[in-house]
């Protein structure tokens, strides 16, 4: 059979259209079938344009206060504890001032401040470096500002860990279910992760959907204030407008959304001169 170029292109064109149209039609039908069930909109969810947290370190008085906060998060999110730094998985943790805000320490600063364990978590940055490098879009930014981690897509390449300047991400070197704490207790309402994926704080997206504030905020006795940074009437905006706050490594341009209330109140006391 001989065919000239024009005929060939015609046939090719028609089959392409038939192919695309056909799959679209079949896809459409299938979608229709799957979404036939009756649904009700979820009206419980907290909604915002840019979630953030302001942490008042002066209100986290003791190690126990802080431990209660970190443990609440790790417990409800089934974060494994292997009790060694190499395999450590952390969503919320503590560091000294010097390590949290490098370059801002100086030798005359208050001893108390120098040694205080600062509460750290993912900053849900406006310009998240982790999102930019993720090759699979497993890490992505939601409309409400949450930097979300989709465990179904993570291939464990760890680019995001290298990119995040805040050490907010942990890799699962071991099967998390083998951790002692998860063999004793697992929150049956939340999944675990699997070996070979990266995880981090997800801003309690599952709680926000139910109208609850993040677990760390709830456990903090008012030391952590959660709110919508785009809403000028929110409590967090009032705090930021009235108190001196700092963020971690702002010079890197990722625009963190976790603020630390420094000074004022407890710290403003001038020590007695002896």
């Amino acid at each position: 059979m001989s065919m000239n170029r024009r005929e060939f292109l015609k046939i090719a064109g028609i089959s392409t259209i038939a192919g695309i149209g056909g799959t679209a039609l079949a896809g459409g039908l299938r979608k229709g079938v799957i979404e036939a069930a009756q649904t009700a909109p979820n009206t419980d969810a907290l909604t915002g344009k840019k979630w953030g947290i302001a942490i008042d370190m002066s209100k986290l008085k003791s190690e126990e206060n802080i431990k209660r906060v970190t443990e609440a998060c790790h417990r409800i999110h089934n974060v494994p504890d292997f009790s060694n730094t190499k395999d450590e998985v952390k969503w919320i943790w503590t560091e000294t001032f010097e390590h949290s805000f490098p370059g801002q320490e100086h030798k005359f600063m208050a001893e108390d401040m120098k040694h205080k364990p600062f509460l750290l978590l993912c900053n849900h940055c406006d310009n998240p470096a982790c999102v930019r490098v993720c090759p699979t879009k497993a890490t992505f930014k939601r409309k409400d500002g949450i930097v979300m981690q989709d465990m179904h897509r993570c291939i464990g390449c760890r680019f995001c860990m290298a990119a995040c300047p805040f050490g907010a991400r942990s890799f699962n070197y071991k099967n998390p279910r083998l951790a002692k704490n998860l063999q004793e207790y697992m929150n049956p309402e939340f999944p675990t992760r699997t070996i070979g994926v990266v995880e981090k704080c997800t801003f309690c997206y599952e709680r926000l959907a139910k109208g609850l504030k993040p677990a760390c905020v709830e456990e903090s006795n008012g030391a952590l204030v959660f709110g919508d940074l785009e809403d000028p009437a929110s409590e967090i905006r009032k705090i930021l407008a009235s108190k001196h706050t700092i963020r971690r490594k702002p010079e890197l341009g990722t625009e963190p959304n976790i603020y630390y209330i420094i000074g004022g109140n407890d710290y403003a006391v001038v020590p007695e001169i002896k």
């Binding site: 299938r30 799957i34 992505f140 979300m148």
Partner: protein, 132 residues
């Protein structure tokens, strides 16, 4: 023709190997899995209905779970599914398994029969097995 004999023998061996699964399993009928849908949770329901008809669930539950995952994880869409006035979450762990609390006699039976190993359970926590 060179080596005609060897080729011929080779072909017979190949055909025999290729067909081996068929004649090895000939006459053997493995029992169709009987799935149990009589968990205490389901028995409590007045209207024993899943989110979709049984036939569709059997054939397409994986696509449904996939679309739920995209909706919830990627689009933050947690609209609930209503069946006869009951609300269900679009969730394997907090939706499906709340009724089908017998993973061994429900999910596993069929998956084993079909020799598929879905890795949902590497992360999602199955309900504690009860006597049904």
């Amino acid at each position: 023709m060179y080596d005609g004999g060897k080729i011929f023998v080779g072909l017979i061996v190949f055909a025999a190997l290729f067909a081996s699964p068929f004649y090895l399993n000939m006459g053997k009928v493995s029992a169709k899995p009987e799935l149990k849908i009589d968990t205490p949770e389901i028995q409590k329901l007045e209207d024993k209905k899943c989110v979709e008809p049984k036939e569709l669930m059997r054939a397409e539950h994986m696509q449904i779970l996939n679309s739920w995952r995209d909706a919830v994880v990627r689009n933050g869409d947690r609209d609930q599914i209503i069946i006869s006035g009951h609300k269900y979450e679009k969730s394997l762990q907090n939706g499906c398994m709340k009724c089908h609390s017998n993973k061994k006699d429900f999910c596993d039976k069929c998956h084993n029969y079909m020799a598929v190993k879905p890795y949902c359970w590497d992360c999602h926590i199955a309900p504690k097995e009860k006597k049904s």
